[in-house]
Amino acid sequence: MVVGTASRGCQVAVIGAGPGGYLAAIRLAQLGKDVLLIEDAKTLGGICLNEGCIPSKALIHATDLLEEASHANEMGLTFTGLNLDIKKLVGWKDRIVKQLTGGVAFLVTKNGGDILHGRAKFVTDRRLEVLTEEGPVLVEFEQAVIATGSRQVELPEFPFDGRWVIGSREALSPTSVPERLVIIGGGYIGLELGSVYRRLGSHVDLVEIADELVPFHDPEVRNIITQRMRHLGVTLHMGHRALRMERDKIARVIIAGKNGKESTLEADRILVSVGRTPLSGDMGLDAAGVRTDDRGFIRVNHRMETNVPGIYALGDVVGGPLLAHKAYREAKVAAEVIAGNPSAFDNVVIPAVVYTDPELAWAGMTETEAKAAGHRIVTGTFPFRASGRAMTLSAVDGFAKTIADADSHLILGVVIVGRDAGEMISEAALAIEMGAFLDDLAGTIHPHPTLSEGLLESVEAALGAAVHVLNAK
């Protein structure tokens, strides 16, 4: 041991205080474990709370409101003097983030967990060295949970500089609205932030290497999302690759299509959102003997155990869909396994939401996936255009679609595009997780008038018994 190094012991060391890490720490503390939560950043909550899910949803809601207010003429509402104060908007968002991250720290400590700020590195499979502001601290543990998450991928031709080339973090704390924004990458971050900036007034170019947006979805989903982005005024460059940038007073992004033909997009800011990569390097995984795959994702089993007994991993750093709610569930499993309970990540579905306008949410299989899995399928679709509630909300775009096994009527998947789709998808997730059949959902009374009736109607349509739309012959 290094002379002068502080040391301490704990039963469980949790590395990383994002959704997965902080939840694991809270649950472990609740289960009676002596927990130390180690976080490099100054605040807890990870990407999700500080520079991901929560801040983006704050900006999305504000710009939704702006959009609605500007299009309320039809209802006889006209707003004059509708102004955007970007500083105030970011300030509002920052207060929400502060409240939430403070809440996490409160929950961890009140449940009996300890927090240590610093960068953790494995020295052995039972010991960590944490570099804190006060110096290194050796932490001996019986079990460790790795929840270090992921970081955004950087493109070599477009290195992040915080000014011209930014990532989602900077995009969520703008000091000004760029006149021209080029977004490289049409994944959910690109789609969400593209919508936000377009509504804030930017001219938005979106460059996506694939030929379609949300390419793994069924055609009607791809179509509506693409149409809506176009309708919003986002210029889509599908099947294009961003090659390089040039810069003088403004930046220029040179892109090329499949045929190699180059074109130039002018930009005041470039947002790179081409995906995320696991944060598993530089933390001494070798010293602990923890194995990763060739992309750096830590390999775990359904009990969240790594190859090293006593060391667990979860969240983005283990791969799969990089979603906070997946990490939440994995954290509960890991904590329960560590506490000696029989627990496993055996979930059938991990629902997902993209906060475009309208929202896109899904649970389970798409039509294509269900067929590929060998199912003979039956589907039912209900357009929100036929929903009374959607009309009163002036939110008639979108639909609910249910995919079921044609023979057993087992519900396999649901996709909803529409206002509050993200709120509605949990019902579908529950149905699939419980092994529900079409008539289980059809036999459940849905309150009227709500958007959630749309899911009910899609199920009835799959049964050939829809009421508010004509059934397919």
Binding site: G185, Y188, V274, R276, V300, N301, V349, M434, F437
Partner: protein, 455 residues
């Protein structure tokens, strides 16, 4: 196709076994039911038979390794016609992130490998209408229950609507698996019938010392840590379970064994010469106890707490505690009421010997309704033995000594022995236990009376 063999759960608290030797190596062809390895449990050394015909592709353990229940020991490449087709893997979570880089999914690497259906417990009754891709249909609640009970859902026959697996289905499968595998493993020579559906048993929590004990002991001086044997772990669990469950009470009385001792001495050598067996006084106690059990059947019983029912046994299987170098085991003399004392003496000698050599089978350690323990060799006045679950009583024999006693107003020297009856006071009243012990003593004190009571 690849078929994994996982170490089955045989119940009886056995969670692990030591691999003694492989009988095969990778590349060998095996027939179905052909033994492929020897493992040693707490109780016995047994051969494990191959679940399939095919080729050995991988051995996951080396001789001497400890294998836990549920561990995949060996992988076979099965000839296709010997295994029924496995269920397709459950539909996996959606690929839900549109951004290309985030779609780099790495599914959990050691998620359970494809587990073929086992013929005896085939899934879904409507198998003919089985759609091509079907996960076992169970709610998260039922799935958690299955995990707790170590049941593979793919091996559960579903009774619910549309092939939905209910809690009850899971419980039924759990108890059947336990029975099947226990029987299979105890009958060492017979093939294990249920292979593919072996439960993945998760280990019990809370088996470790409180942390304070671990840490503090090292504070006071040098210590040594000795890994306890599997038998010792089993004893620990059983002892604690008994003490935690039953309301132990011990009643002690004394018996004048002068006449019994005299008779025993008279026949001991004769029996030894004739039957080549070491005759002890134990059979007299077994017979006396059986006679008393017939009069007080509540001492030959178990308690079904879930159903609030007493289970009175109409058989007289008597366990006897036998010391072995590894620890205490309790072999059983079955139907002690229908065997003569010489036969009982033979069985005791034989089973005690085999228990010491650890060649006794699981079967021979099961089924007792009542137990006798001879604490006499330890000296002392009396002890309070622990009742082996699920029994409700144990008879303790204590040291035989010459003691001064009063007979007809005179102090005389007699051979005396203390006897104890430890009983579960939840089910057995003190009066009953005392009356039982009194009955045993009256027969022991007067071997003639015992003779009259023999069937």
């Amino acid at each position: 196709m690849a078929v994994e063999f996982r170490l089955p759960d045989v119940g009886e608290g056995i969670h692990e076994a030591v691999l003694v030797k492989w009988r095969v190596k990778p590349g060998d062809t095996v027939k179905a039911d052909e033994p492929f390895c020897d493992v040693e449990t707490d109780k016995a050394v047994v051969e494990l038979p191959s679940p399939v015909a095919g080729t050995v592709s991988k051995l996951n353990f080396a001789p001497g390794d400890v294998v836990h229940v549920g561990d995949a020991m060996i992988v076979f490449d099965a000839d296709d016609d010997t295994v029924s087709k496995p269920a397709r893997p459950a539909s996996v979570s959606p690929e839900s992130s549109p951004a290309p880089a985030t779609r780099m999914t790495s599914q959990p690497s050691s998620a359970p490998a494809s587990v073929p259906h086992s013929p005896p417990v085939q899934a879904a009754p409507d198998a003919s209408a089985e759609p091509p891709a079907r996960r076992p249909l169970a709610t998260p609640h039922t799935r958690a229950l299955a995990r707790k009970l170590g049941v593979d859902l793919a091996a559960v026959a579903a009774s619910g609507k549309g092939g939905r697996i209910t809690d009850e289905d899971v419980r039924k499968t759990a108890s059947r698996l336990l029975q099947d595998t226990a029987e299979a493993l105890s009958a060492a020579a017979e093939p294990v019938p249920v292979i593919e559906s072996m439960p993945l048993v998760t280990h019990e929590a809370g088996e470790r010392l409180p942390e304070t004990a671990e840490r503090q002991s090292t504070d006071f001086g040098p210590v040594e840590r000795i890994r306890i044997s599997r038998l010792r772990q089993l004893i620990a669990r059983n002892m604690r379970a008994s003490k935690a469950t039953l309301a132990h009470v011990t009643h002690v009385d004394e018996a004048d064994v002068t006449d019994l001792d005299a008779m025993y001495r008279k026949v001991k050598q004769q029996v030894a010469d004739m039957q080549n067996v070491k005759f002890t006084i134990m059979p007299f106690f077994v017979k006396s106890a059986v006679a008393a059990l017939k009069k007080y059947p509540v001492l030959n019983a178990s308690f079904d707490e879930d159903n609030q029912e007493m289970i009175i046994k109409h058989y007289y299987h008597v366990g006897f505690a036998a010391d072995t170098p590894e620890g205490l085991v309790v072999p059983v003399i079955r139907d002690a009421d229908r065997k003569d004392m010489i036969r009982i003496a033979q069985e005791i000698a034989d089973k005690a010997e085999r228990a010491r050599e650890r060649k006794i089978t699981l079967d021979e350690l099961q089924g007792a309704g009542f137990t006798i323990t001879n604490v006499g060799p330890l000296g002392g006045l009396f002890a309070t033995p622990v009742i082996p679950l699920p029994q409700l009583a144990i008879l303790g024999m204590h040291a035989m000594k010459d003691r001064p006693v009063v007979r007809n107003g005179q102090i005389v020297i007699r051979k005396m022995m203390n006897l104890s009856i430890s009983f579960d006071h939840r089910m057995i009243d003190g009066m009953t236990a005392a009356a039982f012990l009194h009955e045993v003593i009256s027969l022991i004190e007067s071997p003639e009376m015992l003779m009259l009571r023999l069937v």
